[in-house]
């Protein structure tokens, strides 16, 4: 893995503090990071270590208390709604819980149409839009004909998460922030979803920031791994460096906590795609 690829997202001294006075919580504590284009970066840490906070800061959903994020080597400027809207064309997310990710009052068609509109397809003909939606659905092994006029809550968790990937397929962002996309899903669907995610990455060549608590999974799929403990990155490097030769005590503990079953878990499809 060369570090010569152009910089995509980086941060210097990024800090987020919630509350003030006695209730003050430092969720993310002066972290630096460098995410390069086309990489798959995993941020691994236990619950409450600040993974989700950092992802929300990267998405511009919450403000940064201190420090600066750089997007393509320029300081990130998302002070106005128009600038934010522009930024969100380049960065998209998949959230942890598919059951709460959708507005239950909107039909599935609406979700997909919004994506087409965001990519400037507002004036496309009806047939063209339909074709795009069908294509996106078939990419994630869903049939558009079965989904139309249905509500998201009528689908299973795995289907919902696949629909979320179809959304990314339509949006074609430069960066995808996947915040534990498989943690609420059963093991079988998990492999399928990871497979699709990695296929999508190959298709549109985007940077993926994969947030997970599962260090085994991170090892199999990622180029770079950041280990996060209590708001700080305690260790970083390529997957091999970090997992096979851990230096920080916290990383060692995380690795020793991985249940044995993960080593025997057949992730061949995922593995081959990730290494491809």
């Amino acid at each position: 893995m060369s570090d010569t690829k152009p910089m995509c997202l980086s941060g210097k001294g990024v800090t987020k503090v919630f509350g003030f006075g006695e209730k003050k919580t430092v969720a993310v504590d002066h972290v630096d990071f460098e995410f390069r284009e086309g990489e798959l970066i995993s941020i691994v840490g236990e619950s409450g270590s600040g993974k989700t906070t950092i992802s929300k800061m990267l998405l511009g959903l919450i403000s940064i208390t201190e420090g600066q994020i750089f997007f393509q080597d320029k300081p990130l400027d998302i002070n106005t709604r128009a600038k934010k809207k522009k930024y969100w064309r380049d960065i998209q997310a998949i959230f942890q819980d598919p059951f709460t990710s959708y507005n239950v009052f909107n039909k599935i068609d609406q979700v997909l149409l919004d994506c087409i509109h965001m990519r400037g397809g507002k004036r496309f003909s009806k047939e063209k839009k339909l074709e795009m939606m069908t294509e996106a659905c078939s990419f994630v092994n869903l049939k558009y004909a079965e989904l139309t006029n249905k509500y998201p809550f009528e689908l299973s968790g795995g289907q919902m998460q696949r629909l979320m990937i179809a959304r990314i397929f339509l949006l074609k962002p430069k960066i995808l922030l996947a915040d534990e996309p498989t943690s609420m899903i059963d093991a079988c669907s998990r492999a399928t979803i990871l497979d699709m995610l990695l296929n999508l990455r190959n298709e549109i060549g985007m940077t993926i920031i994969f947030i997970t608590h599962d260090i085994g999974l991170a090892y199999y799929i990622s180029d770079k791994v950041y280990i996060m403990e209590q708001g700080k990155f305690v260790e970083r490097g390529t997957a091999d460096e970090v997992i096979l030769n851990p230096k920080a005590a916290y990383t060692k503990r995380l690795i020793s906590d991985v249940p044995k079953i993960y080593e025997e878990w057949d992730l061949s499809t995922v593995n081959s795609t990730a290494r491809a």
């Binding site: 929300k56 998405l59 959903l61 709604r81 809207k85 969100w88 064309r89 998209q92 997310a93 959230f95 942890q96 819980d97 709460t100 990710s101 959708y102 507005n103 239950v104 009052f105 909107n106 919004d114 994506c115 965001m118």
Partner: protein, 416 residues
């Protein structure tokens, strides 16, 4: 959406409350179709006429009578003349002159009168009886003799020249006329109020006005509360602080006091029903704001809102599309409660004399106010205030029942 409505109509509490409310509303709209006319028209010149059908005596005399002989007619007339007090007094006198108590039956008018006829002697002076009491008995006896004497009644007209009375008609105790033949008659199911107005007609109009006041005030309060709550909760920051500050100001000062002051400030002449409704609406939005705000705060960091933001939706669209539908059920509940509160607030204000002006349109509160001012409650004119109370209770009961039913549907922890 369809599912939710079906669920709502399966809640027994909601259905009962809804049916009561619809029945009340229907009768309020149907009754004026059968009994048209101005509800504030004074039909009676005397106040607080009892409920019943009134036929014109003048027209009744003019009508051609049929002869009938009802078996109990005389006895009924006598019974009507003798009230409980007189019967007790007669018994007292009879006991004094030594008639055994077992022989006196005050409920049997015929035997009591017979006994009285035989034994009463005005010259008798029982020991210890005052002059006044003896005179009372003499008057009572005269009355009874007149009642027993079934002579004809002569209707006479005065001769315009001589001033002498001339016999026009003779009415005997067997003359009957059909009430249909009496040209002028009026049925007052709830009598008249202090101004001589038909209470039922007034009540129907008043209930309609009060419900309208409730609807206007409730909608205004819900609209203000909803929009401020949504803005404060979703935008946060200084907008939240400002709205919360104003809301707290209104919450700390009791709403009813503001209501009284504003109503007084507007002045009696300018207070129509609509003005009153608007004033009530503008003083009762605070709780809606607070609760909507807290609901929105818990919603605004949900993933579906984040996703909507990432899809580049505008602020208005996120609020209307991703926040409002989630609190819609809550807002409907708040609206129903606001309507019921506003109806009660109008009644309270009017009781204090700060309600809508009295000359245009009756409201439930005004009717209560009039009944209280003219002491209907101390004189036992129940028809002037009890039906009003019943309607207020029925409306607010049905609305609250609907609210509880909705609460149970939308809040599964409350289901039985």
């Amino acid at each position: 959406m369809k599912n939710t409505i079906r669920q709502v109509f399966h809640s027994p509490k909601f259905v009962v409350g809804f049916s009561i409310f619809v029945l009340v509303l229907l009768s309020l709209f149907i009754y004026p179709l059968f009994v048209p006319g101005n509800p504030l028209q004074m039909v009676g010149l005397s106040s607080f006429s009892e409920p019943g059908t009134y036929v014109s005596v003048y027209d009744a005399i003019d009508s051609e009578p049929d002869i009938m002989k009802l078996p109990e007619a005389d006895a009924k007339r006598l019974a009507d003349k003798l009230n409980e007090e007189d019967r007790a007094a007669m018994k007292e006198w009879l006991l004094l002159i030594g008639i055994p108590e077992a022989d006196i039956d005050t409920t049997d008018t015929k035997s009591l009168l017979k006994l009285w006829e035989e034994k009463y002697d005005p010259s008798l002076k029982p020991a210890g009886m005052t002059m006044a009491k003896r005179n009372y008995y003499k008057r009572l006896n005269t009355n009874l003799e007149q009642a027993l004497n079934a002579s004809e009644v002569v209707i006479a007209t005065e001769n315009a020249e001589t001033g002498a009375l001339e016999e026009a008609k003779v009415v005997t105790d067997t003359d009957y006329i059909n009430t249909k033949d009496v040209i002028n008659s009026i049925t007052l199911p709830l009598g008249t109020d202090n101004f001589g107005r038909d209470t039922l007609k007034e009540l129907v109009s008043a209930a309609k006005t009060s419900i309208m006041i409730g609807l206007i005030a409730g909608s205004i309060a819900t609209f203000i509360g909803l929009s401020t709550g949504l803005l404060a909760g979703y935008i946060g920051g200084w907008v939240d602080e400002l709205i919360l500050f104003i809301t707290n100001l209104f919450t700390v000062i009791p709403g009813f006091i503001i209501l009284i002051l504003v109503s007084y400030g507007i002045g009696q002449e300018n207070r129509g029903a609509t003005t009153c409704a608007i004033v009530i609406g503008f003083t009762s939005w605070t709780w809606t704001t607070r609760s909507v705000r807290s609901q929105v705060i818990s919603l605004r960091n949900r993933d579906h809102v984040n996703l909507s933001k990432l899809s580049g939706h505008s602020l208005l669209r996120i609020i209307l599309n991703d926040i409002l539908p989630y609190i819609a059920s809550y807002v409907v509940m708040a609206l129903i409660l606001q309507i019921s509160t506003a109806i009660l607030a109008e009644a309270q204000l009017s009781m204090l004399g700060l309600g809508p002006k009295t000359t245009e349109i009756p409201t439930l509160g005004l009717m209560m106010n009039w009944a209280m001012l003219y002491s209907a409650h101390t004189h036992g004119y129940w028809w002037a205030y009890f039906p009003v109370l019943l309607i207020i209770a029925l409306i607010s009961f049905s609305l609250n029942l609907m609210n509880t039913g909705l609460d149970q549907v939308f809040n599964p922890t409350l289901r039985d």
